[in-house]
Assembly symmetry: C2
Homo-oligomer: 130 residues x 2
DNA sequence: ATCGTTGCAAACTCTTTGCAGGATT
DNA sequence: AATCCTGCAAAGAGTTTGCAACGAT
């Protein structure tokens, strides 16, 4: 038998600053937003470190990616229930919505098999809708 | 009063090859797919020309952009009714679906205003689902 | 002392732009 | 002939990778 060595859990100041940025923001963040948020805790943080730690947190299962149409990827704390997102047309911030749309049946071409869906609302967030 | 000069409608061989690629494919195409499809009509076509002509066709209203989560933009012939898209998980091709989902009411946070939505189905297309 | 992480810079990919030559009217 | 378009190559923007120095154990 082979034993799979438990990965040592390494928490550098940089990685902690990045996790804190997600907890404080409480919404999905882009790499640039992570850099800006985490630099308030650790000003010398570099962008390569942000990209590497995002990937590391995704691999650990702490983060998960949220792909957005026509914009850079966002990442959110993993483990939440199925939900969708709202993007502000002006500031481009992404927000979490509760729940899913009511059951829907979309017709797909013959021979196609559906395995999942995505849904986005667009508009103005409270900060931009004054 | 100023008169707005009517743009001369210029149709080069390259632009015609690009339009033909869309008509033949009958689905939204990425810039790379346009290049590949149009090069079958005009083998020396360059990618800068593809990008410029896509932009030109969008400006003319012949094409419209279809942004996709986590993938390069697609373009489809403009003027169709409101509809959504299906993306194949394996080959990444985008397909047009008919119609929209039945009426839905998603709760948004207070102070937010909704102006639009997007919806995507994912799965396997008939070519990849054998 | 060892081994993983950081931060800079270079490499990469996708897209846009500059420019000389070519095509169209 | 004048003007617009093309294709190459260089420039940008966002992301990834190489590497020497740093940090933690």
């Amino acid at each position: 038998m082979f034993s799979i060595p438990m990965e040592r859990q390494i928490n550098t100041r940089q990685k902690t600053a990045i996790r804190d940025a997600f907890v404080e923001a409480d919404r999905p963040l882009s790499p640039d937003e992570v850099l800006a948020g985490a630099q308030r805790h650790h000003p010398t943080l570099g962008k390569a470190t942000v990209y590497r730690n995002i990937q590391s947190l995704v691999d650990e299962g702490w983060l998960q990616a949220v792909e957005v149409p026509g914009d850079s990827p966002r990442y959110e704390v993993a483990g939440k229930e199925h939900h969708h997102h709202f993007q502000c047309n002006r500031c481009k911030k992404l927000y979490e919505l509760q729940g899913c749309i009511p059951s829907f049946k979309m017709k797909v071409p013959r021979g196609f098999r559906t395995t999942g869906h995505e849904f986005f609302l667009y508009g103005l967030c409270s900060q931009c809708n004054h």
